[in-house]
C-alpha cells in the first residue's frame, strides 16, 4: 500500500497487534487506578447532587426554578441545547470522518461516541423535568390522549425534537454497540474470571471474526455512517427550529440551522478534547492518541469556531439591515444590555480564543489545548444562555421585562448532569475498551 513519508504514523511506539490488545484491555483486566477512583467518586458525588436537586424540583414544584412568565426557558433549555450540542461530535467523528476516509478517527471514535450517548442522557433530563409533572413525560409520544383521541401536533418543532433526539440516541447506541462487538469478543477470549467470561461472552454475541461476518460488518458500518451523517445534521437543525419557528426577535432567523450545527460540532469537539486529554494522560494512551490527533481536532475547532463567529456577526448585520426595530433592539440589548457580560464572554470564548489554533505551537501543546477546550465549553454554554435569556427577558411589551437569575436548584441540576456524564464515562473506561482495537489494528502499519 502506498504511504507518503512526510506523514507521521497514526500509532506511534512500534506497537504490535498483541501490544494493542494488551494496552487497551489493561484497564478492564486490572484493578482500577487511584486516579480512576478519584474521578469516579467525584462523578458519583455530583450525581447525588443531581438526584437531590431533581427530587426537590419534583417534590416542591417547578417554582424552585426562577423561570417565569417572560423568561420561560432559562438554564434548563440552555443546558439541554448545551448537552445535545456536545453529543454531536461522537457520531460526527465516526460517521462523517468514516465517509471521508479519515483514518485518524479510529483511535478516538469509540470514546467520542460514548460521550455522545452520555451527553444525550444528560440533555434528556431537562425538557423532561421542565414539564413539571415528570410522571407524565410520555405525553409527547404519539399516543391517543387519555381523555379522547387528541394526538400530538406534528406541526410543532418540539415534537420533531422528540423524534429527532430519540432516533439520534438509539441509532448512536446501535452504531456504538456494533463497533464494540469485535472488541468485546477480544476481552471475552482473554478473560480469566467467570464473570468476565460470561458477561463479555453474552454481549459479544458469538463473534468470531469470520471473513464473511467482517464483509457484512463493514457494509453495515458504512451504511450506518451514511445515514448517521444526515441524522447528526438533522438533530441540531431541529433543535434550532425550536427557536427559529417562533416570532421572538433574536430567534426568528433562517441562519439558525447551519449556525447551530456548526456550534454543535464546535462544542462537541471541545468536549472530546477535554475528555481525551484527560484519558490519554491518565491511561497512558499517548501512543494511540498522538499529537497528530490533537492537531487535527484543533483544526476542526478552529474551522467551526470561525463559522460560529461568522454567524454571530452575520446575525448582527442582518438585524441592523432589517430595519425592524424589535430585532435591532434585541441585538443592541445583547451587546450593551444587562446581560452584556454574557454576550462578551461568548464572543471571547467562541470567536477569539480558538483563533490561537492558527499557530502550530498551540495545536501541539497538550496543556494549552486543554485550557482552550475548557474555554470553548464555557463559551458554548454562554452562547445558548445569550440566545435564550437575552431574547426573552425583554420582549415586545416593556411591562413584562424582567431579569432572570438561576436558583441554587437550577445550578445544582446543571452541575449534577456533569456527575451523570462523568460517572457514565468512568464506568465506560473501566468496563469497555476505550479505543477501537480492531480498527486500530488495521492502521498499525499505515501512515496517513
Amino acid at each position: 500500500m502506498y504511504s507518503a513519508d512526510i506523514r507521521q504514523p497514526l500509532v506511534t511506539g512500534g506497537k504490535t497487534y498483541s501490544d494493542v490488545t494488551a494496552d487497551i484491555c489493561r484497564p478492564i483486566e486490572n484493578k482500577p487506578t487511584s486516579s480512576w477512583w478519584v474521578g469516579f467518586i467525584t462523578g458519583v458525588v455530583l450525581l447525588m447532587v443531581l438526584a437531590g436537586t431533581l427530587a426537590w424540583t419534583v417534590w416542591e414544584g417547578i417554582g424552585t426554578w426562577n423561570t417565569n412568565k417572560s423568561v420561560m426557558w432559562g438554564w434548563d433549555i440552555t443546558n439541554f441545547v448545551f448537552w445535545v450540542g456536545i453529543g454531536h461530535a461522537g457520531t460526527l467523528i465516526s460517521a462523517v470522518l468514516l465517509l471521508f476516509r479519515q483514518k485518524w478517527r479510529m483511535s478516538i471514535n469509540r470514546s467520542a461516541e460514548a460521550m455522545t450517548i452520555f451527553a444525550v442522557f444528560c440533555a434528556a433530563i431537562f425538557p423532561l423535568f421542565h414539564m413539571g409533572r415528570v410522571w407524565l413525560g410520555f405525553w409527547p409520544l404519539p399516543l391517543p390522549n387519555a381523555f379522547g383521541s387528541l394526538w400530538v401536533n406534528f406541526n410543532s418543532p418540539l415534537l420533531w425534537d422528540v423524534f429527532a433526539i430519540s432516533t439520534y440516541l438509539s441509532v448512536s447506541l446501535v452504531f456504538w454497540y456494533l463497533g464494540l462487538i469485535p472488541d468485546i469478543a477480544t476481552v471475552r477470549d482473554r478473560a480469566t474470571t467467570k464473570a468476565r467470561k460470561f458477561w463479555y461472552g453474552f454481549f459479544a454475541m458469538g463473534w468470531n471474526g469470520s471473513a464473511k461476518s467482517w464483509g457484512r460488518y463493514e457494509v453495515v458500518a458504512l451504511i450506518l455512517a451514511g445515514i448517521s451523517t444526515p441524522l447528526v445534521l438533522s438533530v441540531h437543525t431541529i433543535v434550532s427550529m425550536d427557536f427559529a419557528t417562533s416570532v421572538i426577535p433574536g430567534w426568528h432567523t433562517t441562519i439558525f440551522p447551519p449556525y447551530f450545527v456548526a456550534g454543535a460540532i464546535f462544542s462537541g469537539f471541545g468536549m472530546v478534547l477535554t475528555l481525551l486529554l484527560i484519558a490519554r494522560h491518565v491511561m497512558n494512551y499517548e501512543a494511540y492518541i498522538t499529537s497528530e490527533h490533537l492537531e487535527a481536532m484543533c483544526k476542526v475547532i478552529l474551522l467551526t469556531g470561525s463559522v460560529v463567529g461568522l454567524a454571530y456577526i452575520t446575525e448582527f448585520v442582518i438585524a441592523a439591515y432589517s430595519g425592524y426595530e424589535y430585532e435591532q433592539y434585541a441585538f443592541a440589548n445583547r451587546m450593551f444590555g444587562p446581560y452584556a457580560w454574557a454576550y462578551w464572554t461568548m464572543m471571547f470564548c467562541n470567536l477569539m480564543a480558538p483563533q490561537v489554533f492558527w499557530f502550530k505551537w498551540s495545536r501541539t501543546t497538550p496543556w494549552f489545548i486543554f485550557v482552550i477546550s475548557i474555554v470553548v465549553n464555557i463559551g458554548m454554554w454562554f452562547e445558548r444562555f445569550v440566545i435564550i435569556v437575552t431574547s426573552l427577558h425583554r420582549d415586545f411589551l416593556p411591562s413584562s421585562w424582567v431579569m432572570y437569575h438561576a436558583t441554587w436548584v437550577e445550578v445544582g441540576i446543571f452541575l449534577g448532569t456533569f456527575g451523570l456524564f462523568f460517572t457514565c464515562f468512568f464506568l465506560f473506561a473501566k468496563f469497555l475498551p476505550v479505543i477501537n482495537m480492531a480498527e486500530v489494528k488495521t492502521i498499525l502499519k499505515d501512515k496517513e
Partner: protein, 322 residues
C-alpha cells in the same frame, strides 16, 4: 447458552495460523490458484480484499436496509397523516389540516426512515451472521480475536490437493502454526483448570503436524505452541532443580526490587509468588529463556504459555528503559 455451531460439531479443519494479514492474503491467493476450497478465514480485524480473495460476493444487506428505510418513511407518513388529518385534525392558526401540511410531516418521516434503516439493517446483519446475545462463540484459535489470523479448510470437502500438500503450502506461506485436524471449541468456562484443558485439547490435534511431516515441523512452530500444558505435579527434587536453574540464569536481585505488578499478567498475589522464588526485578525477567519460563510456570502453577503470550521479556525490557 446455545451453541453458535457455524463450525458444526465434529467437523475437522485443517488450519493455518498467520501473524500477518499480508501473508494470510497471499496464502489465500496461492491456495485458490491451486484450486483448494477454503472454508473461511478468522481475523481479529477486517483484512482488506480478503472477502474478494475468498470469492465472497458483496452482501445484499444494503438492499434490505433500503427496504427498511422505505418502511420507515411509510410508517412516518401514515402516523402523521392518520393522527393529524384523518382522526383528529387540529386547526392551528386557522390553517387547514389536509395533505397541504405535508411539509410539517417531513422531519418525522425523515427520522423514522433513519431509525428503521438502522435497526432493520443491524437486526438483519445479526440474523445473517447468526449472532444473538448469549450464543456461544466457536473458535479455532484462542487468539483469533487478538493477533492470530486463522485460515480454515474443511476436511470433509473433496480437494484436488492432498492434505499434506495443503499443510506444506500453508507452512511455505509463513504460517506460524499448522494443524491437520482441529475442531472448533468455545471458551465457556475459564478458570485456571479449563484454560489448561483448552490448551491441552488443542495440543491433541498437534501431533498431525509432527507425525506427517516432522522435517518441516522442526523448522517453524514456536516452542510455546507444542508445549504440553497439563498441570505438572513436581516432586521436591524437581522443584529444587528448577529453582537452581532459574537462579543460575536470572542471577540474584541483590536487594533491588521493582514493582512487578506493572507487567501485564502479574497481580499482587503472583508478584509475591515470584518474589518467593527469587525474582524481584525487571532485569531478571528480561533475562528469561524458554527453559526458565517453563520452569517458572511449572513451579508456580501459572497459566501455561501465558508468560510468552504476554511477552513478559519485552515488557520487562521496556519497563527497564523507562
Amino acid at each position: 447458552m446455545i451453541d453458535k455451531s457455524i463450525l458444526l460439531d465434529d467437523k475437522k479443519f485443517t488450519v493455518g495460523i498467520f501473524d500477518d494479514s499480508d501473508k494470510l492474503l497471499h496464502a489465500v491467493h496461492t491456495l485458490k490458484e491451486k484450486g483448494v476450497k477454503i472454508f473461511d478465514c478468522y481475523t481479529p480485524f477486517p483484512v482488506h480484499h480478503l472477502d474478494k480473495a475468498l470469492g465472497y460476493n458483496r452482501t445484499n444487506l444494503s438492499i434490505g436496509a433500503f427496504l427498511c428505510g422505505m418502511l420507515g418513511s411509510l410508517t412516518g407518513f401514515t402516523l402523521a397523516y392518520y393522527m393529524n388529518v384523518v382522526d383528529w385534525p387540529m386547526i392551528i392558526g386557522g390553517k387547514p389540516q389536509d395533505i397541504s401540511v405535508f411539509t410539517s410531516f417531513i422531519p418525522v418521516i425523515f427520522e423514522l426512515t433513519i431509525l428503521f434503516t438502522a435497526f432493520g439493517m443491524v437486526i438483519m446483519f445479526f440474523a445473517r451472521s447468526r449472532m444473538i446475545h448469549g450464543i456461544k462463540e466457536d473458535l479455532l484459535s484462542r487468539r483469533q480475536t487478538d493477533d492470530h489470523m486463522v485460515l480454515a479448510i474443511d476436511n470433509d470437502e473433496d480437494q484436488d490437493v492432498s492434505s499434506s500438500d495443503i499443510q506444506a503450502i500453508l507452512r511455505g506461506e509463513g504460517a506460524i502454526e499448522v494443524s491437520g485436524s482441529r475442531e472448533a471449541f468455545h471458551t465457556s468456562l475459564n478458570d485456571e483448570e479449563t484454560l489448561a484443558q483448552i490448551t491441552a485439547n488443542n495440543d491433541t490435534s498437534e501431533p498431525v503436524l509432527n507425525v506427517t511431516e516432522p522435517e518441516v515441523a522442526a523448522e517453524e512452530p514456536a516452542p510455546a505452541l507444542t508445549k504440553k500444558a497439563e498441570k505438572v505435579v513436581l516432586t521436591e527434587d524437581e522443584k529444587e532443580e528448577r529453582l537452581n536453574a532459574i537462579k543460575s540464569t536470572l542471577g540474584d536481585a541483590s536487594g533491588a526490587k521493582d514493582d512487578l505488578k506493572l507487567i501485564s499478567g502479574v497481580g499482587p498475589k503472583y508478584e509475591e509468588t515470584l518474589n518467593s522464588i527469587g525474582i524481584y526485578t525487571f532485569e531478571q525477567i528480561s533475562k528469561m529463556t524458554l527453559e526458565t519460563i517453563k520452569a517458572v510456570e511449572e513451579i508456580t502453577n501459572y497459566f501455561p504459555g501465558r508468560i510468552e503470550r504476554d511477552d513478559w521479556i519485552n515488557q520487562a525490557k521496556k519497563l527497564m528503559s523507562k
